[in-house]
């Protein structure tokens, strides 16, 4: 297991290297580039001013040197300072990341808690009404623009019924509340964003666990388990489920970038001060150091998500643990 983990970690190094390379290229090779953007607002910016700016950001050096400089600072987690307010990028990201992570972890838990039972149930009762209904739900779930659903739910629950707040993560008067009230307040603010960002994932994962389960219950060992007279619930829970969940774990890992990317839309709609919203405002302000920092961190978070998925895969699937040991 340890050996497997070590190998898996080693594989991440070239990927992270590639991620930094692409991040750097996106910002530096695109037509325009950082300095043009800063000076295009004021047409009067002289050639001299542009040169000064270039020197300030080290943009007068050849590209590969710039990249190496940036990479050296990146290794020390130094992404430079924001163009907007001069604070360090890492500080800006660090204060935004917890909110985004909490929302994503909550919605991932919601996805798992809802999608897997749905998938398993509709597989064991294939072609039943429940199965057909969930299939319809899955297709609609795949096809719904969640930002639109967010708008509609905001109109229903926020505007018409006035039940839920429609922006932010806490009320203005939160500091005056007791602990219980405070938690209720957070829950009210988070229910729509978390539920919505889970929505698409629930559709996808329930479909996936359904087909995975269908495949497993046709296997010989399930027939054997039934033949020796086990209760159907035992067969499903102890024999089928564990095997059916194997590929599902991988899919969960793959869904991480979608969740993180989706946070841009949700955090913007619900005015949640997370990484997605920071990214959106940085993109609007063309704050390159922050954009590059978030791009890298977003991609690394994805790699970590995949790593966690692979580790849990290894935990549930003994074959991987064993083959890792042998090598």
């Amino acid at each position: 297991m340890l050996q497997y983990l070590f190998k898996r970690l080693l594989l991440m190094i070239p990927l992270i290297f590639g991620i930094t390379l692409i991040t750097f290229s996106v910002v530096h090779l695109a037509p325009g580039g950082p300095v043009d953007v800063q000076t295009e607002m004021s047409l009067k910016a002289s050639a001299q001013a542009r040169e000064n700016l270039k020197r300030l950001y080290g943009l007068d050096k050849p590209l590969h040197e710039q990249y190496l400089d940036w990479l050296k600072r990146f290794i020390r987690l130094d992404f430079g300072k924001s163009f907007v307010d001069g604070r360090t990028v890492i500080e800006k990201i660090a204060e935004r990341i917890p909110v985004t992570l909490i929302i994503n972890v909550l919605s991932l838990s919601l996805i798992i808690a809802i999608a897997i039972p749905i998938g398993v149930l509709s597989a064991t009762k294939q072609y039943s009404i429940f199965d057909k209904l969930t299939t319809v739900f899955v297709f609609i779930g795949f096809s719904t623009p969640t930002f639109w659903l967010a708008l509609i739910l905001m109109i229903i629950f926020g505007v018409s019924l006035g039940l839920l707040p429609i922006s932010g993560i806490q009320s203005i008067d939160v500091s005056g509340m007791g602990l219980v009230d405070r938690i209720i307040d957070w829950a009210k603010h988070l229910i729509l964003p978390v539920g919505l960002s889970a929505f698409g994932g629930i559709a996808g994962l329930s479909r996936y666990s359904r087909s995975s389960m269908l495949e497993v219950i046709r296997q010989d060992y399930i027939r054997t388990a039934r033949a020796k007279g086990l209760k159907e619930s035992d067969v499903i829970i102890h024999h089928a489920l564990r095997n059916a969940l194997l590929p599902v774990v991988t899919i969960l890992g793959l869904s991480v970038p979608g969740l993180i990317g989706g946070s841009v839309i949700f955090e913007t709609i619900f005015a949640i001060p997370g990484m997605g919203q920071l990214f959106y405002s940085s993109a609007m302000a063309r704050d390159y150091p922050t954009i590059m920092g978030i791009l890298v961190i977003g991609a690394v978070l994805t790699l970590i998500g995949n790593l966690l998925a692979d580790i849990s895969y290894a935990i549930v699937d003994p074959r991987i643990r064993v083959s890792g040991k042998n090598r």
Binding site: A30, S143, I260, A283, L295
Partner: protein, 281 residues
């Protein structure tokens, strides 16, 4: 061949309904100038934010523009983005995937690591980063969605190539001295295309969703040019007073994306040779 596929596709009534909806939308988008009741950008200050009524079926927006007309023109934008973005993605994916699968070895390793790296980026982040540099417009987002969406196609094509290149007719082609390019495009590619078609159909659905999301954030199709996403932006700005601005464009997106997904599902079943044996029953 096409007859058989159609025969199998036809059995799935939902997919056929999806196909009908797609054709209907395409016709509307094509004849937008004829079918839309008003000019999509015609401002009418006397009819600002009027709810749906007999002269404006879907109501008007904050500048008095007819929402139905804007949606009809918006269909054009969505379909254009969907098709061109997916066209770009498929071209890149087919080229890289076929090279990777056909040659194997180091080239394959490099291309596949590149795919892994691209997949690590949350796509929306990557798109947003590029748009922050290049002016957002309908052509920008088509290209960017295409450039960030080819990875799955590359993987699919590579996998097809890996199995097909071992087959006897490829050895035969090599034996008679066919050049690599000819083998790739004439002999392997046509046999590797069915999963690509399926992926393309799902891809169009995805691209339309991404386009509407970007336009909604103000980073896609730029007003006054109408798109479903940017009508929803005015829906959000007028969320307390004009529900119709939020409701109708969203339903249009939902139905369109759903139709492409249904057709994709139907195509997948119709093109899957493993299911062909069951055709009789």
């Amino acid at each position: 061949m096409i007859k058989i596929i159609w025969k199998r596709f036809r059995k799935n009534s939902l997919s056929v309904a999806g196909l009908a909806a797609i054709v209907f939308l395409a016709v509307i988008a094509l004849f937008a100038p004829v079918v839309s009741p008003y000019e999509p950008t015609a401002i009418d200050v006397y009819n600002v934010l009027s709810p749906p009524n007999s002269s404006h079926l879907f109501g008007t927006d904050e500048l008095g523009r007819d929402v139905l007309s804007r949606m009809i023109w918006g269909a054009r934008a969505s379909l254009k983005v969907g098709f061109i973005a997916v066209g770009i993605a498929i071209t890149i994916g087919c080229i890289l995937g076929s090279v990777s699968g056909f040659y194997g070895g180091r080239i394959d390793a490099i291309i596949m690591r590149f795919v892994d790296i691209m997949l690590a980026f949350p796509t929306f982040f990557l798109i947003l980063a590029v748009i922050s540099i290049v002016e957002p417009s309908i052509s920008t987002i088509m290209i960017i969605i295409g450039l960030t969406g080819w990875m799955d196609v590359a993987r699919l094509v590579r996998a097809e190539f890996l199995t097909i290149k071992e087959r006897d007719f490829i050895s035969a082609a090599k034996a008679v001295g066919a050049k690599d390019l000819r083998i790739i495009f004439r002999h392997i590619m046509p046999n590797a295309l069915s999963p690509v078609f399926v992926a393309a159909t799902f891809g169009i659905a995805g691209a339309i969703l991404v386009e509407s999301g970007l336009s909604f954030l103000g980073l896609g199709v730029q007003p006054p040019e109408p798109s479903w996403g940017n009508i929803l932006t005015s829906g959000k700005d007028n969320i307390t007073v004009a529900w119709w601005l939020s409701l109708f464009p969203g339903i249009a997106i939902l139905i369109t994306v759903l139709s492409y997904n249904l057709v994709g599902e139907g195509l997948r079943d119709a093109l899957d040779p493993r299911l062909w044996g069951k055709e009789k029953n």
